[in-house]
Point group: D2
Chain length 314, copies 4
């Protein structure tokens, strides 16, 4: 396996998963800014090389964890070299003008991932929200024309490890704020396009927040229903009965439940005291695992014909 953009939080996590994977090995870890240095990852010394110095064809599959914008071109080069690719950036995801590419929300698109040579790995917020919403739409349980409100709170590793003043400890600790408000966050398009592909007649309002924790995302989602549901957890228990990486919980999912694990953990409760039936759905993931590197390896496992769970902490 090769990794482009290996020095960021997602790139490091990816390199660590590959190094610990029982059936994969790490052919190269490219990181332009830190080329020539060595990083300690998963107990090994990993040399960072420049992307231009990499022979892409030496790898069976290359992951791009490059920044949005820069990734698309490199994915092109990987594919020209005849090598399979998984793009962790937003460049090739639904709603970004590149339809027709397999979208690696594994549990929902398993068959198209399995046969793909190029996969667009989902965003962290969309993973937490779409995996939670899908069973409701599949069962016709969402009110026609509904407005779904998704409030998400993320640990700061989601913002990467480039030095920015706003991400300093002194700015984040004991603080909390919304950002990307008014449906302006990049991930909205990805989610709206996916909802549309499901034939959903619904609006989505998405508001991300920045938490003073290192990792984890919790999405709190209110959904107007087409009819009341007796057993509120049944849609997920049915839809994900055999999924190794999806947990349905009687208790409210917490970040603590999911960090360092490649899972989505989902809870649901009927909302009292509203005129029409509504559901509160909460969904927790580790943004660097199921929200990025973990799901990327899960997709690679499928593309390479390996056991889907190989090398992944559940």
């Amino acid at each position: 396996m090769g990794v482009l953009g290996a020095s960021g939080y997602a790139g490091r996590e990816l390199s660590a998963l590959i190094l610990r994977h029982p059936m994969l090995s790490l052919a190269f870890a490219a990181a332009n800014e830190q080329r020539g240095t060595t990083a300690r990852i998963a107990g090994r010394d990993v040399p960072f090389i420049a992307a231009d110095d990499v022979s892409l064809s030496q790898a069976e599959l290359v992951f791009s964890a490059l920044p949005h914008g820069a990734s698309k071109e490199w994915v092109g080069r990987i594919r020209e070299a005849g090598v399979r690719a998984i793009d962790l950036s937003a460049d090739l995801r639904p709603g970004n003008g590149c339809e027709g590419i397999a979208y690696g929300l594994t549990e929902l698109n398993r068959e198209s991932v399995r046969g793909a040579s190029l996969v667009a790995n989902p965003g962290c917020y969309p993973t937490s929200i779409l995996v939670a919403l899908a069973p409701l739409f599949e069962r016709g349980l969402v009110a026609d024309g509904a407005t779904i409100i998704a409030n998400s709170a993320s640990g700061v590793s989601g913002a990467g490890n480039s030095p920015k003043r706003e991400l300093l400890f002194g700015e984040i600790a004991e603080n909390y704020r919304a950002y990307g408000v008014g449906n302006t966050h990049r991930h909205l398009n990805e989610m709206s396009a996916t909802l549309q592909s499901w034939g959903a007649n619904a609006d989505l309002v998405f508001t991300p927040h920045l938490l003073p924790v290192a990792r984890g995302i919790l999405s709190t989602i209110t959904v107007p229903l087409s009819r009341p549901i007796d057993d509120v957890l049944a849609p997920w228990r049915e839809a994900y009965a055999n999924e190794p990486f999806i947990e349905v919980s009687d208790e409210q999912p917490t970040l603590r439940d999911v960090v360092y694990r490649n899972v989505v953990r989902i809870g649901a409760t009927a909302i009292a005291a509203t005129r029409t039936p509504m559901l509160l759905v909460t969904s927790a993931i580790d943004n660097l695992l199921k929200g990025a590197a973990g799901q990327a390896v899960q997709n690679a496992n499928l593309m390479l014909g390996l056991d889907e769970t190989a090398g992944l902490p559940a």
Copy 2:
């Protein structure tokens, strides 16, 4: 002034505000569990006495920061002693079966507070949400029959300082979760009853969350509008033009902006890509000041004919 329940986070904050207040003095600080001990508050040694040993009538006004349930009876005793009272518990707030008592959401009920001898001090979440919503309802800007979604995140001081395993550092740090889901939190009644008193035809869905910070609340509120608004901040700028403790902000309010200050800080943004016009309103407070002890002193200032801002950090 007297304080009952002085050893909790709100009671200590209240005692500190009174000790630093230029025109008030602290007659007694009662705290049954810690009676006989002395606490260092605002640079002074404050003896905690048993509530039963207090002569209530020695104070011009008594604040009760006792737990919900226990407070009501003590407020009765205070009033029987002919002494003014401010109750910081939920016992006498709207929606809790005790209508007719002045509700101390100061900016919205200033006149009724001024003439009252008994005031029910608002809950922390309701303060952040109702102060943010009032200008929209006053101007007829909320869609008829709207469902308003309020997601709030609070620092742990809101849960008090009684030793509970779930509030240990090891459980809260690097964690985040929803609680009181499905409209089951005690504060929902207080908010619903207040909306009703405004003649509002709207449902409210309220979901609180627990943040790994000591203090501060941020409420993120989506509001379906009756019509688009050009200048989204205008309702608050107009309604609160002369309010010393309300700030309207072009940028997203953060906890950092408001902690240790007796203010509500409000931001608003139009939400893109929805069929009907919607607004995202965010509102930040310090849960112990404007959300509890600060607003209590603000109300006391009014009841005693003092400058409303006296002794309060803005």
Copy 3:
């Protein structure tokens, strides 16, 4: 394996290590206070039973993670049942009046642990300090009559998960303090007795501190030397060349380097500008793993004739 005191932080960590261990299984997890409840540990539902309801002899080896004081008696019962025991409490450690029991500082006492049927598992602070000091004493590098100053800082999981006000998030976050000052901490005896058993002529001053982190200990130790050392890391590189769980580092060890791993990570630097040669030694461990449950399993592996590293994250 059996675990007594399974609901504390160390007991849970121990149960998790056993459940994930390739060659061990968990016969019972006893936790009086939480008997009858079920805990989610290492992805499994573990029922907590009362210690009195346990049949001790069903286990090949029982770990006691009971509180200091209570543990000693239970270890007696385990041994009477003819079962091997590892005591994680301080009750049977050196300096506590129970000499002659194998002291499970694994790297320093491997042979006596291997043959033992009862092992006193070391304290977290002593593990970080004694493993760091041993190579200096072995090589005669500590000045005769030296005063060694050890300042340690620990995450709060070291204080257990019993609900105490001083351990609430609101008391620990954004705070830091020394405790057990003046050589009054329980672990001093354990360290002094061990130094004495090495024939060391040295005084130890030990000051623990409480950090606002969940786990990890860093000890910062100043050591007067008998002579200058050219290659300051050589003593550890030599002494621990073949140790799988000891790391010697050119860079300052950090908590981040060691949490969730069963290792001691050691750094050393010559101290400039002092009359006589001195060394600064820093030593980091995860207090729940190498400082408690991890080292206990390491000892159990030896006692049971298994690979010493089995089931342990390095």
Copy 4:
């Protein structure tokens, strides 16, 4: 007053203190990197201008909070303009080759500060350590030829707010480490030179650490004594009896005790079980107040003939 370097953490704190000061006003706030922007400080909008655009002579006194190295030259310009100066950088402090300049450790050098037109404001670590040590040296209580070990732990605001990867929340949270080990930290010279100026025959070993908190320093100091002391707190109680900004505490000082306050809080305990008498002294300050901006204003008050405590939170 004027402030150079007003956009850093110390510069902002200084500007805030001046704005809130009853007898001072802020003539200018210079911050090259952020020139042309406006910052919200102490409830006011403060425009940042370029240092080169400042008319230095418009201020009665100028504080330089510029980086080490750059500050010295600007202090020269301030003095050439005939204006009093307080330098918060290390450039003019003892041990840095610029002797003869008043050293603003206020409680120890009050008279020389009062008459000075230029003051070198002490470093944060030296403030916490030297104020704690002085009474012991004054009374001849330190053993001749003693080695004093000072371990300090600081919040990250001490490292400034320039964007650096190592200061990101994701790197600092749940972490802790030593730095500047082996007596290599810049502040050692400042302390050694000061000890020398006291005629002290003692070595100092100083090891700073980085804490996952925003502000505050705790120094833990072991001192070999010339003779045992009966009343261990007596030296400080006597020496600082009338000092408004020094607190002597029976209990261990914590960061929580001192943040947002311009004080040094000191505790002391006799150390048991050592051959020769030793004392453990702990000393806590807010690194941005008593450790920087607060002490600077305290010095300015003296230089300008004002009440020394004016405008300072005690």
